[in-house]
Subunit: 481 residues, 2 copies
Amino acid sequence: MSIRLLTASAVALGLVAFTPAAHAQDAATVQQAIVVRDAAMRSNIAMDYVTQLTTRFGARPAGSRSEQQAAAWAADYLRANGFQNVRIEEFPLVGWERGESSAAIVGDNAQALVAAALGHSPATPRGGVEAEIVRFSTFEDLQAAPEAAVRGKIVYVDLGQMHPMQDGSGYGPQTRVRGAGPGVAAAKGAAAFVMRSVGSDEDRMPHTGTTRYVDGKPTIPAFALAAPDADQVSRLVALRQPVRMRLTSTARTYRTTSQNVIGDLPGATRPDEIIVLGSHMDSWDLGTGAIDDGAGGAITVAAAKAIADSGRRPARTLRVIFYGSEEVAQPTAQTGNGGGVYARGQGATLDKHIIAGESDFGADRVYALRLPAGAQGSDFQKAATRVLYPIGVLASDRVETEGGVDVGPMGPLGVPFFGLAQDGTRYFDLHHTANDTLDKIDPAQLNQNVAAWAGLLWLIADSDVDFRAMKPATTPATPTR
Amino acid sequence: MSIRLLTASAVALGLVAFTPAAHAQDAATVQQAIVVRDAAMRSNIAMDYVTQLTTRFGARPAGSRSEQQAAAWAADYLRANGFQNVRIEEFPLVGWERGESSAAIVGDNAQALVAAALGHSPATPRGGVEAEIVRFSTFEDLQAAPEAAVRGKIVYVDLGQMHPMQDGSGYGPQTRVRGAGPGVAAAKGAAAFVMRSVGSDEDRMPHTGTTRYVDGKPTIPAFALAAPDADQVSRLVALRQPVRMRLTSTARTYRTTSQNVIGDLPGATRPDEIIVLGSHMDSWDLGTGAIDDGAGGAITVAAAKAIADSGRRPARTLRVIFYGSEEVAQPTAQTGNGGGVYARGQGATLDKHIIAGESDFGADRVYALRLPAGAQGSDFQKAATRVLYPIGVLASDRVETEGGVDVGPMGPLGVPFFGLAQDGTRYFDLHHTANDTLDKIDPAQLNQNVAAWAGLLWLIADSDVDFRAMKPATTPATPTR
């Protein structure tokens, strides 16, 4: 009887379920993870997926016909690549369409400006809004401003250019303004809200992105200026007061549906233990969503496929989810984003979700692995370092606590997260702009992502690692000379 | 009576000691910090200091005559710039001199290699060491190797090139090998130890750095190869076995002294409350210690001087310390490094050390402010953001716990730390090599450092902020779209 037949019989008899689970740090597990990693590095699945997705469907706004069609296509793509139990989880959504918009300085120094309406901002009245600008250079200054300084005016917030950082940390301070700024301005009686684009480029191309509802209602018309136009307006305000601006927008919301696409590679011996690989299907309307987040779908599906093609199925189930509707705010938190829909729909099975990770930061290389607090200094972290360090991924001393917008809702329900941190130095040059197109993806860096995901996932999927049971080590870090 | 005379009289009468202390977040304090920041940005002190230091004294190895002379000169520099109570704190040290060294492949494929002895490694026997190489690609593999595989051989550890990262996190995994590798190899009977340089460049220039004593004794002769030579040796080992290497070193240790140079700008109203601005005076012998750490001294002295020149003395004392002997390991922890000497010498006055920071990461721009855990989300952090964000420095969600090698010894004694994190992307191209010279400093980035230090220090020095009393906030971070 050959080894192969013996194995097949053992599976048939259900014997393998009694095989003791391997540790991630076992030499054989690490060695197989390295084999999977190197095969993944040579895979062409990621580039194929993102090329097809962005070419066939272009922009995929949440709830749009193109997002729906892309989801149906992606489900077929999963089936064609051997995923099982492929399903589409539909949910209602308030969609948003940009329509037409314009921005211009009027009166003295009249000139057109390059701007984009912010996602889920309301239309201007027919004929537009025209008013004097009041400029703020920090969000706190806007918050502290008296109503009299703002009422009837167009609030303009310019924090200066976003600072590019490897870890993308320049984004947070700026995006806060985009989310909450229009609401703060509206509460003080502003006529409209304008801000510098949240981006690190100097292209004449605005960055859109969502703004928030307040008490379930839209606030005021809101726009982002391209960086050169933001410079221009700030210079004009410094030169002379008052500066008047005119804004138009025909944006509208509508009732529609979005959907999560879910496919499994069932585990060989413990299929009820699930590892979630997340990304999102929707994109902003200006580009084709190649880096945000076609790349994430490409990386996760290719990593799972590399494991499936390795000749041996790991013990646990790998679940790829293309979440619907990540990009947009909704009137209430209980509707309309795929991450929340999935988490609420799982119920008690979340207890069997071993860990979740999300790829949603472009296609540039992974440089660090972040694990749950308990895994710091663990044998698992050391095993992962053996697999990932040779391809440039360091074990980070930062703990992964958030997961990301899509997998995040599982966190309060007890699911641990990992993060494979990608280099974000140029991500915000392109993010949410018309420039987010396929050509921006470097295939070599894309595949380094696939390799990092595949190698790491093998260690988790074919071992007994239990992140919930791990307790943080207490050895403090010491400075190095 | 003019305002000026009133103030002068109040000082004379000691009345100002009863002035209620300002909060860092008070508008006037923030405004003055911005004024100080902008003046610091235009200062020429930092470039003057590091130019004079590196030109006059060149390399400044710990305990060398040039380090001693540089310390005396720096004390005069502080006095000439208005610092008070300038003093030199001398301490005994085991010094190390490189002497002559060589490395070569011998036998088949004989060729010379570019290498440097590691700091505090012992000499080879006269005539050198010649033996077969045994190569390891991880530190763990060396630790796990049986004695029989290592005894009598030259251990060669090549982790592959260090990965450049903005936060310098690629350094830790590699420098561990340099510190502990020779000891591990010696315990298994190795004849000598060789490693790939800890560096991110491909210049044919080795990176030195210290290795550690074991039980107070030196281990075995130890060397770092330049990256192209490390590539070469690893290729040779892959091509054929055995590869033989010959190493010579006349390195020696000697008894000497080093010293800390300390100068104060006494606080106007609470001079017993001290803020430490640290850097180190010693350098490696191969370069002139411009980025490591002439720049740190330049940044800290220029920041303090910008505050002194602002026309108003802050409430608290600013203490600049040029620490001696940062770079080298010593036979025991209780001797020979300036940071430990200072901390142990202070005794109870450490209770009045408000906070300490250290500049020891080159001269490239500051991108993040790290504060003690209790200051996360605090009014102080918000005030600092108002001062620092406009010059590209973000409030980090990373807590500063280590301080650095020099100020670090004060941590266990209760002194909080701040960190102004510098961009480390190119730092390890130059670090500990002959290439660490003045021309590598970008004056604009150097002065951005000075501005960040000066603005931050004003907020701390002229307010009542008490980092020991601050408790961490509990609001969790949430992912952003």
